[in-house]
């Protein structure tokens, strides 16, 4: 308890020192003020967004909607394709080079293509983020199914499990344990996909706000946007940690194996 307070104290102090130095240097140098803005200005901007105009909510809502949609769709697709390929080795062997190529490709570059296909609305951002989430989930599911112990499988079969029982009671739980361990990364990736998509072309969203502000050299708004995105990412991560803790109660706390995180 004392230890924790001690840590908090130093963390807050560090933050205060940084903010103070930032504010001070922007007061004394117009260059710093132009290129880095100033914390008070950023704070003013945030207050205006959230409490005076209240126009951030619309943009934040769009970004979060994109994130959650992409996360849900990407996870579902990854789960389906991962289970299917892991359970039919022949299909996996055929698809292997294509999957490797698609995973190796820097997929952010697909954003302009998705903008052409799906327009400048929400769909093109979701599509981009899905391509990021899909592969993380897919590789983890694939590994999770492959890692099921042969004894466990044999035991389930001896107990009378059919194909569907095996899928539901053995393969899926095993795959899910890998998926949950990569949840932090896939939610983060969904967020990145959404924001990058917005930044490259959109009419709404926090990424769009940042792009607009950058166009008019409004550095304070850019920083304010970054602060909002960072806070959102932290909240998402906390939520994931909560969900994970609830659903993974069966797993021993220590001595867990390393999980694969592609990209």
């Amino acid at each position: 308890m004392n230890d924790k307070r001690f840590l908090r104290f130093w963390q807050i102090l560090l933050l205060a020192v940084i903010l103070f130095a930032w504010q001070l240097s922007s007061l004394f140098s117009t260059k710093v003020a132009f290129f880095f803005g100033d914390p008070v200005g950023v704070a003013e901007r945030l207050v205006t967004w959230f409490f005076v105009d209240g126009d951030i909510y619309r943009h934040l809502g769009v970004t979060l909607a994109e994130t959650l949609l992409a996360f849900a769709i990407g996870t579902a697709l990854g789960l389906l394709v991962g289970l299917w390929l892991a359970l039919s080795p022949q299909a996996a062997a055929i698809c292997d080079p294509f999957l490797k190529a698609m995973n190796a490709m820097p997929r952010v570059i697909l954003a302009p293509i998705f903008a052409l296909w799906f327009g400048l609305g929400i769909a093109s951002k979701v599509a981009l983020a899905v391509t990021l989430v899909f592969f993380i989930v897919f590789f983890n599911v694939f590994q999770g199914v492959r890692e099921v112990s042969p004894t466990l499988l044999a035991n389930a079969r001896m107990l009378g499990a059919g194909r569907r029982d095996l899928l539901r009671h053995v393969y899926l739980p095993s795959a899910m344990s890998w998926v949950f361990s990569s949840l932090h990364i896939s939610v983060g990736m969904a967020f990145v996909g959404a924001v990058v998509g917005e930044y490259l072309g959109s009419a709404r969203g926090v990424g769009y706000l940042i792009l607009q502000a950058e166009g008019s050299f409004d550095i304070r708004t850019v920083f304010a946007g970054i602060v909002v995105l960072t806070l959102c990412a932290l909240v998402l991560d906390l939520l994931v940690a909560k969900v994970e803790k609830r659903l993974m109660r069966w797993q021993p706390k220590s001595g867990t194996t390393e999980k694969i995180h592609p990209i």
Partner: protein, 273 residues
């Protein structure tokens, strides 16, 4: 009752082909015939790595022999042996299921009503001495407790044939003897056919009606059969002190010792073929 043996392995040969190098073959079991009558407790002993588990997997229908047939109560086995329950050497509980859900898994696979299955599961947990532990996950149980759950999981299905692959080998001596006594008690209630694999001769004699000795691998085959005429009910800790036990042990060990030595030499050198 049926006069046919509960489980009959006849002229079983099992050859494994290396996946990377098809020219490389390993014959684990050769020309083996083994019968277990209903109500009989048969133990199979042999040196480590001699193909004991292979034999059991064939009896369970998990593995198809290269040649030979498996019959269950006179019927040829095709696919998984539905009349058999299998207790594995390694931990085979589903780690994501609580103890009770592991125990009733087989009942649910067989379409038993979940509420009824739960009642039977709780009764079985009580029988193996785990009342109050039903909501624990396997990682929250000790090794001995996990074996008890596995035993309940297998026996709740009331299989006609029980296959056991060194189920207690990972336990400490005290827990092991407790579990052996519990197994004998449960078995004596229903007298199922048991095929018990072990490398521990003491355990084999203490539990069984008959002990079969296997030769060392490759091409393992039975080389001796010894009826165990010790009285039942038995207590595995006390029985080890009886003169008859010592006598049987000496006779079987005389056969087994040579094979263990051979197996030891073979494992030090790389096996050919």
């Amino acid at each position: 009752m049926n006069s046919e043996p509960a489980l009959l392995l006849s002229d079983i040969t099992c050859t494994f082909v290396s996946r990377d190098n098809p020219g490389q073959r390993y014959t684990a079991v050769a020309d083996t015939t083994l019968a277990v009558s209903s109500g009989e407790f048969v133990s199979v002993v042999g040196p480590t790595g001699c193909g004991k588990s292979t034999l059991l997997n064939i009896g369970a229908g998990l593995l198809e022999p290269s040649s030979g047939t498996v019959t269950v109560y006179g019927k040829k086995l095709d696919g998984i042996n539905r009349q058999a329950g299998y207790m594995f050497q390694a931990d085979a509980l589903m780690p994501w299921k609580r103890a009770i859900d592991n125990v009733v898994a087989g009942l649910l696979f067989r379409g038993v009503d979940p509420a009824k299955a739960r009642d039977r599961g709780l009764a079985w947990l009580a029988r193996v001495g785990l009342t109050g532990f039903e909501d624990r996950y396997p990682h929250q149980l000790s090794g001995g407790m996990r074996k008890r759950v596995a035993m309940a999981q297998t026996l709740i299905l009331d299989p006609d044939i029980i296959l056991m692959d060194e189920p207690f080998s990972a336990l400490d001596v005290q827990t092991r003897q407790l579990m052996e006594n519990e197994l004998l008690e449960l078995w004596s209630e229903k007298r199922k056919a048991v095929l018990f694999i072990t490398h521990d001769l003491d355990e084999a004699i203490a539990l069984s009606d008959r002990v079969v000795v296997l030769s060392s691998g490759p091409a393992t085959r039975p080389i001796g059969e010894f009826p165990i005429d010790l009285e039942r009910p038995r207590d595995v800790t006390e029985i080890r002190g009886l003169p008859r036990f010592t006598e049987l042990h000496a006779r079987i060990w005389a056969v087994l010792r040579d094979e263990v030595l051979k197996g030891y030499v073979q494992h030090r050198n790389v096996p050919e073929e």
